[in-house]
Amino acid sequence: MKAFVTDVQRFSLNDGPGIRTTVFLQGCNMRCDWCHNPETIPVRPVEMFYKDRCIGCGKCAEGCTAAARTMSSREMTVEDVMFQVRQDKLYYDESGGGVTVSGGEPSLHADFVEALADACHAEGIKIAVETNMSLPWAQIDPMLRKMDLIMCDLKLNATVEHMKHTGLDNQSIFNSIGRASKLGIPMIVRTPLIPGVTDSEDNIKPIAEYIAKMDNIVRYELLNFNPLGGSKREALQERDAYDGVKPLPPESLDALKRALAGIRGLEIKVV
């Protein structure tokens, strides 16, 4: 079983509980214009060029030694990934962490994710997935059932806005989140706070109210804007629509948390 993997990031602290290893898979079916991992969007590996690393040798065709010109991902087997993953088992055990499969959209590689889950469980390692929940339920259901934690995004409450900014309808996402919450698996729902797009009370409050009614919700996370996608877009020679945009200041984050404070039974966390 193989998949194109853009990165295996160890000592990952923001992709679920505890200390984790996050496996980023190539390929996504959404087109979020703020994506901070834009290199993961195409289904196949793409070339990236980091001009600050280029030494100007002019021998690109012979292969870049300076890692200025690289491919976004490489094909890895489950065992290749496990080679990295198992090295930190002690830290997962100590912290309640494990593996998080992210992307891209992991459910595009559901078979690979399921095989990775089996391999992790065989070694006593917990596994979580970060998914946009947009693929048909029948396609994602078997994958989700193998997870110890499901993390999913609900980026925009308004369907039209969702379509405009991600390229996809959000109705199936709402439905799948509802069905996933019945699987008996802990869930974390998250909204990336994109200034001027998703960061309004009008957007996040209805999402919070919706998921507050669900079962198995651990918490609702608000992910502050991450501007790191800019350098990757530059490497992909794409325009960064969010160039110069800063993460929300603490006072704005506090205001959003206050707006959600009245929703009973829902823990809120700003990441």
Partner: protein, 739 residues
């Protein structure tokens, strides 16, 4: 220049809480640090030294080269200093015991070692392999302050006189020197008490006058008598530290609870000590000197020894919040609330304290040398990377180092200048040959030091806090210690391992270039576009720290070879009457710049003159994600495993633990690092932006403290090169934040 008397600074009727006094003392400390930094700073520990111009001492040499050697000269010069050393007094402080300089540094440059005992043959080998031999170094072992607490200076003096009468003339030089020293110590502390009492009558503020009166009375009492109360015991330890530093810089604390808890519990039971007072006294002790203290850990019965005083010590360090060298000894049964509090404070204050040692790894390692568990347990963290049994060991810890990257260079040069096989394996054979030459010479150097150190610099202060030494009547290097466990460290493991890995991967396996081509580019320091292209190729090989990479495997191989060669020194010197044990470690201290400075370009893409890696850490950029876990696993895998350390030096961004869940993760990280087999964790919590700004303008953040290697220091005190080292380490684990 700095004042040394702080009297009548406040209105007569002003009253102070302990917190207010700590805050005022802290502000004074920061201001004194700025003065020291502007006077030139120092790339080392703070030592609590005060910059002043009231007292200068001119050495009275006993050798034509202008230096001092042997018992008599050291004793006479030290006593002369004590006769005239002014007493630093701050009415806000609980204690008086600030020092100004070290006698050992008053010697002319290059005259530390007695030239009558030169070692030219060994020096040639030391120069070839860039060995820091430790010959002529001093004080890197630990006193047991309990001896002083039990006997007081008067009791020690009485014992010295009794033993002198019992010994023949061959020991009289030792006793006469020690007796003179202790007599002058008693006179010095008594003078301090009298002067402070006099100042208490001048001080207009009633509360501070009372403080000075108490301080003076305590000094008069403990000048000769053993301390009886908690405050007296802390004051005694402060005097000892100052006296030891003034002699030859040596001072380490010990297990804080063992030393002070009996006093604390007795005073609390008697109703004469509150927790607020205890915290204040501990804060003043941390202010007085940045010496190393160990907290927590298991007792002799494997029970956790964390007690209420352990918490008070953390509280004191927190309220003072300056450079404080506290080490938490972590074990399976540690009080988890105490451990968590320590991690919280680490992230809250961002001053590089505490750090963490592993009871299990250190104890099991030391037992592998043949020591019983009981002794292994008593070894406490007492220096940058080292452990020592207080009052029982002579160690030379952190003073003996071999630049094993330079050994690589010698092996490389030999392979490339002969016609034999050229491969990573052929290089490894030569490396083994040269490493053995270097280690064996270092072992002979250690023995030379032991044989003649008394002729250069006897340990007149630390001798007095050794069990049984006064009865033997000899200096600690001449059989005065109970055990001789000599630490020998390798520096530059990552440079050597990455170089082997790069050669094996790029030349042997992939055939991307030849040895001759690599040599040509290395000799040219990878200059030119082609050179840079080759450098990048080598730099991006599988590196130590990568996670079970080729570099990791070479590092393990080097560590095993290193460990075997150092341990073989035990056999080579088995006949010595001191029964010398040699313990391998991996540590550079802050010699990374020095040891890299004359090293030429290496096959791992390092250019000539660049620093070597720090301690046992991988080179910067070891992984794209800079994963702490990968790095720490790699360091765990290269532990020599005989009770000395190969420390993890970690730089962490404060943002990763800005909420309780983040603290939980950091607790798990520290525990994971310890459980994975590591021995010591030195950790910096550094805001990347702040450190970059402070690098540009050190005086913008005069209170910024960093753990440079094993020790903490005010960032502003460091030279630009050393500041750059810290900045580079932050960049390697947090590249995004440093853009």
């Amino acid at each position: 220049m700095g004042k040394i008397r702080f009297i009548n600074e406040f209105a007569a009727d002003r009253t102070f809480t302990y917190d207010e006094r700590i805050a005022l003392l802290r502000a004074r400390k920061i201001s004194q640090t700025e003065e020291k930094a502007r006077a030139g700073g120092a790339d080392e520990d703070d030592y609590g030294l005060i910059e002043q111009d009231e007292f200068r001492y001119t050495l009275k040499p006993n050798h034509p080269n202008g230096s001092i050697y042997g018992f008599k000269a050291w004793s006479e010069n030290y006593c002369a200093i004590l006769d005239r050393h002014p007493i630093y007094v701050d009415a806000l402080d609980a204690f008086a015991a600030k020092g100004f300089f070290f006698l050992e540094r008053l010697r002319p440059p290059g005259t530390k070692w007695n030239p009558d005992y030169a070692y030219p043959d060994l020096q040639a080998i030391f120069d070839r392999y860039q060995i820091i031999s430790g010959i002529d170094n001093c004080h890197h072992f630990t006193p047991d302050l309990q001896i002083g607490f039990d006997r007081g200076w008067g009791g020690i003096l009485a014992e010295l006189k009794e033993e002198r009468a019992r010994h023949d003339e061959s020991h009289h030089e030792f006793y006469d020197a020690e007796i003179a020293v202790v007599e002058h110590v008693i006179a010095f502390i008594r003078r301090a008490g009298e002067e402070i009492l006099e100042l208490s009558r001048i001080e207009r503020n009633a509360q501070l006058a009372e403080n000075l009166r108490t301080m003076g009375e305590i000094d008069l009492r403990i000048a000769s008598e053993p301390p009886k109360t908690f405050r007296e015991a802390v004051q005694w330890s402060c005097w000892f530290s100052m006296l030891s530093r003034t002699y030859n810089r040596g001072s380490a604390g010990g297990q804080l609870e063992d030393l002070f808890n009996p006093f604390y519990e007795r005073d609390v039971a008697a109703g004469t000590l509150t927790d607020d007072e205890a915290v204040f006294y501990l804060a003043c002790m941390f202010l007085q000197d940045s010496r190393y203290w160990q907290l927590s850990g298991p007792d002799a019965n494997d029970e956790d020894r964390t007690c209420h005083l352990s918490y008070l010590a953390l509280d004191a360090a927190n309220r003072l919040n300056i450079a404080t060298n506290l080490t938490i000894r972590v074990h399976d049964r540690i009080d988890r609330a105490f451990f968590r509090k320590s991690v919280e404070l680490l992230f809250k204050n961002r001053q590089g304290w505490p750090r963490y040692s592993s009871d299990k790894a250190l104890m099991e390692g030391f037992m592998r040398c043949g020591y019983p568990k009981e002794l292994a347990r008593r070894r406490v963290a007492a220096g940058c990377h080292w452990m020592c049994i207080p009052g029982m060991e002579y160690t030379m810890n952190d003073t003996v180092k071999i630049n094993i990257a330079m050994v690589f260079e010698v092996a490389w040069n030999e392979m490339m200048s002969t016609e034999g096989e050229r491969s990573a394996e052929a290089l490894w054979k030569l490396y083994g040959k040269h490493l053995k030459i270097a280690v064996d010479a270092t072992g002979r150097g250690v023995m030379h030091h032991l044989n003649y150190q008394t002729k250069s610099q006897p340990e007149l202060i630390l001798n007095l806090m050794q069990h049984g030494l006064v009865k033997k009547g000899v200096n600690i290097t001449d059989g005065g210690a109970n055990y001789y466990n000599i630490c020998i460290d390798a520096a530059g493991i990552a440079v050597a391992a990455d170089s082997f890995a790069a050669v094996e991967q790029r030349i042997d396996r992939e055939g991307k270039l030849t040895f001759a081509e690599l040599k040509r580019h290395m000799d040219a320091n990878y200059e030119g576009v082609d050179g840079e292209r080759v450098r990048q190729l080598m730099l991006h090989s599988e590196r130590y720290g990568g996670g079970d990479s080729l570099g990791d495997r070479w590092a393990v191989r080097i560590s095993r070879l290193w460990t075997g060669l150092v341990r073989d020194l035990v056999r080579q010197h088995a006949g010595d009457f001191r029964h010398v044990n040699f313990i391998p470690g991996l540590f550079s201290w802050s010699n990374t710049i020095l040891l890299g400075s004359i090293l030429k370009a290496t096959p791992n893409g390092r250019k000539a003159g660049e620093p070597i890696n720090h301690g046992a850490n991988p080179n910067g950029g070891f992984r794209a994600d800079g994963a702490v876990t990968a790095m720490c696993n790699s360091i765990a895998a290269v532990q020599p495993g005989y009770g000395n350390t190969a420390p993890v030096q970690l730089e962490v961004d404060p943002q990763i633990a800005n909420d309780p869940e983040g603290i939980d993760k950091m607790c798990a990280m520290v525990m994971g690092i310890i459980k994975s087999g590591n021995t010591l964790l030195n950790i910096n919590i550094i805001d990347a932006r702040r450190i970059l700004e402070a690098h540009k303008d050190p005086f913008r953040y005069p209170d910024l403290v960093v753990r440079v290697t094993g020790f903490t220091a005010f960032f502003a005190m460091l030279s630009p090169k050393f500041r750059q080292l810290v900045v580079d380490r932050v960049k390697s684990v947090n590249p995004e934040a440093c853009r």
